[in-house]
C-alpha cells in the first residue's frame, strides 16, 4: 500500500518537477538588471568607485554609462533602507575601490514598511550578488529565482518568450534603455489626460513607528559609511507634478526634518534633492508619476556626476 502510494506520488510529481526546472531555466535566461550587474561585477568589480543604492526611482534615474568613474547601480524596485544596509554590508568587500555611495530618501521613504527578511528579491541578491539578506542560513531553494515570485516571473516569461514585448535592452552597466516608455506613453504624453489619472502609486498614510524604524536604519547605514570614510550622497529623484500635489505634508515635513538632522550630524554628506525640480525636468522626462525615463535619467545622472565631482 505504502509502496503504491509512493510510486503514484513519484509518477505524479516528476512531471511537475521537470516543468518547474524548465520554468526556472526560462526565467534565468531572460536578461535582467541583476544578471547584467553580476557580469559587470565579475569584470570590473575591483575598479568600481561609486555604488548606487535605493529603489526603482534611482535604478531608472542613473545610467552608469554616463558617469565619469566606474559606477554600479544596485538600486532596484522596492528596495528600501533595511535591504540597502544588508546589501551594502554583504557586498562591500567585493569593491575595494569604492569611494562614493549614493543613497535614496524619497518623499515617503521613512514611512513605508521595511522589506524585512522575507523580501522576495532576497533570492536575487543571493543568486546574483552572493549576498544573504535572509537573516538566516540560506540553502539551495533560496537561489531559485522563479520560486521567489512566480506571478511576477510568469508575466516576464510570457512577455519575453510569447508576446515578445517590453524586451529589455541593457547596456553593460545594467541600465535598461528600453525601460520607461509605459504609463505616460500610453497617454501620448497628453498633459490633460495625465493630470486626470486618479490612481497611481503613492503612500499618503503616515506611520510613526515605521518612521522611527527606518530613520534608525538610515543612521546605522550613515554611521557605518562614515567609519569607512566613504563620500555619501543622499538623493531624491524628480517627481511629476501630479505626484507632488498628492504628497502628504505630514510625511514630507517629517522627512525634511531628518534632512536637517543629517546636515548637522553628518556635515560631510551631500544632497541631491531634485524631487521638486521642474526647471530641468518636463513631462517628457518621466515614464510615470514618480519615475524618470531614459531621457530624464540623462539629466539626473549629469546632476549626480556634478555632486560627486564636488567631493574632489
Amino acid at each position: 500500500m505504502q509502496r503504491k502510494f509512493i510510486t503514484y506520488s513519484l509518477l505524479f510529481f516528476i512531471p511537475v518537477l521537470v516543468g518547474f526546472l524548465a520554468v526556472e531555466w526560462l526565467t534565468i535566461s531572460i536578461p535582467s538588471h541583476f544578471s547584467v550587474n553580476k557580469k559587470y561585477i565579475e569584470k570590473s568589480g575591483d575598479s568600481i568607485e561609486t555604488l548606487i543604492l535605493g529603489t526603482s526611482h534611482l535604478m531608472n534615474a542613473v545610467n552608469p554609462e554616463w558617469m565619469e568613474s566606474p559606477t554600479l547601480n544596485l538600486a532596484s524596485g522596492n528596495q528600501f533602507l533595511d535591504t540597502d544596509l544588508k546589501l551594502y554590508n554583504g557586498i562591500r568587500e567585493k569593491f575595494p575601490s569604492v569611494k562614493n555611495v549614493v543613497l535614496e530618501i524619497s518623499y515617503s521613504h521613512f514611512e513605508i514598511a521595511p522589506n524585512g527578511k522575507d523580501f522576495w528579491k532576497n533570492s536575487l541578491y543571493y543568486k546574483y550578488y552572493d549576498v544573504n539578506c535572509f537573516e538566516r542560513t540560506a540553502y539551495f531553494k533560496d537561489r531559485l529565482v522563479y520560486l521567489s515570485n512566480p506571478s511576477f516571473f510568469s508575466e516576464r516569461i510570457e512577455e519575453y518568450y510569447i508576446d515578445k514585448k517590453n524586451i529589455p535592452s541593457f547596456n553593460e552597466y545594467g541600465f535598461n534603455s528600453n525601460d520607461g516608455y509605459g504609463q505616460f506613453t500610453k497617454q501620448n504624453y497628453n498633459k490633460v489626460k495625465i493630470d486626470t489619472i486618479k490612481r497611481f502609486r503613492i503612500n499618503i498614510e503616515p506611520n510613526l513607528n515605521l518612521f522611527e524604524t527606518n530613520v534608525a536604519t538610515l543612521f546605522k547605514l550613515l554611521d557605518s559609511l562614515k567609519k569607512q570614510n566613504k563620500n555619501v550622497v543622499i538623493s531624491a529623484t524628480p517627481m511629476y507634478l501630479t505626484f507632488l500635489k498628492k504628497r502628504n505634508p505630514e510625511i514630507l515635513n517629517r522627512r525634511d526634518s531628518i534632512f536637517n538632522v543629517i546636515q548637522k550630524k553628518y556635515p560631510e554628506v551631500k544632497f541631491l534633492t531634485a524631487e521638486t525640480d521642474t526647471i530641468h525636468y518636463s513631462l517628457k522626462n518621466f515614464w510615470n508619476h514618480s519615475h524618470l525615463n531614459p531621457s530624464g535619467a540623462t539629466i539626473f545622472t549629469r546632476q549626480l556626476e556634478s555632486v560627486l565631482q564636488s567631493f574632489k
Binding site: 505504502q2 511537475v16 522575507d118 520560486l147 490612481r199
Partner: protein, 474 residues
C-alpha cells in the same frame, strides 16, 4: 514555516517518509518523531518560542495529574486556577500587555514611557491557539469530563501537533489525545484525500485569498481615492479573502493531519450561506466558537438564575472576548461587542413573543437573509480590518455619505472568476468536507490527473511572493 512555502513542502515530504518509514508497530517512536518534527516546525519561526510552549505544556500536564490525584476540592481548585492564571498570564504578557499600558496612558493622559513598554517582543506564533487548547484540557480534567493522560509524550504532541499548532483547529483533548495512543495504519485512501485537501487549501489561499488581498489592500490603503460602491465591494471581498485565507489554511492543516493518520475537527461550514450573524458564528471558526461556548458562555449563564437578560449579557461578554482573542486592539473589542449585540438583538422576541429576527430571517427567501448577513458582516469586517480609528472613520464616512467622487474599479477583474469557482464548487458539494473529496468516485483517472495538474499550474503560475496567513498573527 508557512504552509504555502517551499520550506513546508520539503519538510512535509521528509517528515512523511520518516514517519511511515518508522513502521506502524513502533507507535512510541512515531509519536516521538511527531513531537520532534512539531518542535522543529515551530522553532523554524524562532527557537526561543519553544521554551514557552514546552513550559506551558508541562504546567498543564502536571496540573492535570495533580488535579486527578488530589482528594480535596479546594486543592483541586487552586491547581485549576494556577493553570488558568499561568495560561492567561502568558497570553497577557505576550499579547495584551502593551495594549493595556497604552490604553492606560491614553486614558489618563500620561506621556508614553519606554519604561513601561519594555515588553517589545513578537507574539509567539499560534500562542492563542495552543494556550486555549491546553487550558481546555485542565478544565476538562477538573470537571472530570476526561481523565488526565499519564503519557507526557502524548500530551506534548497534543499541544504541539504541527498541522494545527499555529492556527488551529482548536482541538479538545478528548478528541486528539486518544489518537496518539491508538496505532495508526497507513491508509492509501486517507493519504490521497490528504493530498487533495492540501491542494484545495493551497488553491483557496494562493489563488483566491492572496489575489483578493492585493485588491483589498489597494483600496483600503487609500480609501479617499475610491467611491462608496468600490469601498463596499472591497469590504465584501475582504470577507471572502478572510474566509479563503483561513479555511484554506484549515484545509491544508486537516489534509496534512490525514497524511499522518489523524483526524482534525471541521472548522468551517459555508459561512456565506449563513442566514444571520448568529448563524455565521455556527459556521465560521467553529472550534473557537465551541471553545468560548463551553468554557465562557455556559459557565457564566449557569452561575446565575436562568433568564433572558443573563443570557444576553453572557452572549455579549463572550463575543467581546471572542473579538479580543483576535488581537490586542480596540477594533477587535468593538468587533466582538457588536457581534454579541447583534446576536442578542436577533434573538429578542418580537410581536408578543411570536417571532425573533433570527427565525424570521430563516423563513424569508434566502436572498434577503444573504443581503442582511453579508451586508452587516461586511461592515463588521471593516472594523476588524481597520488599522486606525482615522482610517475607519474615513472609510465609514465615505460609505455612509455615498461618496461618488473617486474611482470605481472591479478591482481584480476576471480573477474574480476563481472566487466564483470556489463558491460554486463548495455549494455543489455541501455534504462533503471539501469539494475534491472522493473525487475518484465521479471522475475517471485521466481527467482527475489533468485537473490536478491544472490546479498545480494555476497555483504556481499566479502565486505571489509567499504571504503569511492572516490568522497566524492571532
Amino acid at each position: 514555516m508557512l504552509f504555502n512555502s517551499f520550506d513546508f513542502g520539503l519538510f512535509l515530504v521528509i517528515a512523511y517518509c520518516i514517519y511511515w518509514g518508522i513502521g506502524v508497530q513502533r507507535l512510541k517512536a512515531q509519536n516521538l518523531f511527531i513531537l520532534v518534527a512539531s518542535y522543529f516546525f515551530y522553532a523554524f519561526w524562532d527557537w526561543r518560542f519553544l521554551i514557552l510552549i514546552i513550559a506551558s505544556s508541562l504546567v498543564d500536564y502536571l496540573a492535570g495529574l495533580y488535579i486527578e490525584k488530589s482528594r480535596s476540592n479546594s486543592k483541586r481548585k487552586v491547581l485549576l486556577w494556577s493553570s488558568i492564571l499561568w495560561n492567561l498570564g502568558v497570553l497577557f504578557l505576550f499579547k495584551y500587555f502593551n495594549f493595556f499600558i497604552e490604553s492606560f496612558e491614553a486614558l489618563f493622559n500620561i506621556e508614553s514611557s519606554s519604561t513601561y513598554n519594555f515588553w517589545n517582543v513578537a507574539i509567539p506564533v499560534g500562542l492563542s491557539f495552543y494556550t486555549f487548547q491546553t487550558m481546555s484540557y485542565t478544565i476538562d480534567v477538573y470537571k472530570k469530563k476526561i481523565p488526565p493522560t499519564n503519557n507526557l509524550i502524548h500530551f506534548l504532541c497534543f499541544v504541539s501537533f504541527f498541522p494545527q499548532l499555529v492556527a488551529g483547529p482548536i482541538e479538545k483533548a478528548k478528541d486528539l489525545i486518544p489518537q496518539f495512543a491508538k496505532q495508526r495504519k497507513f491508509d492509501f485512501q486517507k493519504s490521497k484525500e490528504g493530498l487533495r485537501q492540501i491542494l484545495w487549501g493551497l488553491f483557496k489561499k494562493i489563488i483566491v485569498a492572496e489575489k483578493l488581498g492585493l485588491a483589498v489592500d489597494m483600496v483600503y490603503n487609500q480609501p479617499s481615492d475610491y467611491n462608496f460602491i468600490t469601498l463596499l465591494f472591497a469590504g465584501t471581498l475582504f470577507f471572502f479573502q478572510l474566509y479563503c485565507d483561513f479555511s484554506g489554511y484549515t484545509d491544508i492543516a486537516i489534509g496534512t493531519a490525514k497524511l499522518f493518520g489523524f483526524k482534525l475537527s471541521k472548522n468551517f461550514n459555508l459561512p456565506y450561506l449563513a442566514t444571520s450573524i448568529s448563524d455565521i458564528w455556527q459556521r465560521w471558526h467553529i472550534t473557537l466558537t465551541r471553545w468560548f461556548t463551553d468554557y465562557c458562555y455556559i459557565p457564566f449563564v449557569s452561575s446565575f438564575k436562568k433568564s433572558p437578560v443573563v443570557g444576553g449579557i453572557g452572549i455579549i461578554l463572550t463575543m467581546t472576548l471572542v473579538g479580543f482573542w483576535h488581537g490586542a486592539d480596540w477594533n477587535f473589542l468593538v468587533f466582538g461587542f457588536l457581534n454579541g449585540l447583534i446576536i442578542v438583538l436577533e434573538r429578542i422576541s418580537l410581536f408578543q413573543n411570536k417571532i425573533t429576527l433570527r427565525k424570521f430571517l430563516t423563513s424569508t427567501p434566502y436572498i434577503f437573509s444573504f443581503i442582511y448577513t453579508t451586508g452587516l458582516y461586511t461592515v463588521l469586517c471593516l472594523i476588524f480590518r481597520a488599522q486606525s480609528y482615522q482610517q475607519l472613520d474615513l472609510i465609514f464616512s465615505r460609505i455612509f455619505s455615498f461618496a461618488l467622487d473617486g474611482a470605481f474599479t472591479t478591482l481584480i477583474g476576471w480573477k474574480l472568476g476563481y472566487l466564483i469557482f470556489i463558491l460554486f464548487a463548495e455549494l455543489l458539494s455541501k455534504k462533503k468536507d471539501y469539494p475534491l473529496q472522493q473525487f475518484e468516485n465521479w471522475v475517471p483517472k485521466p481527467v482527475r490527473w489533468v485537473a490536478y495538474y491544472a490546479f498545480i499550474f494555476i497555483i504556481i503560475r499566479y502565486a505571489e511572493p509567499k504571504e503569511a496567513f492572516i490568522y497566524f498573527q492571532f
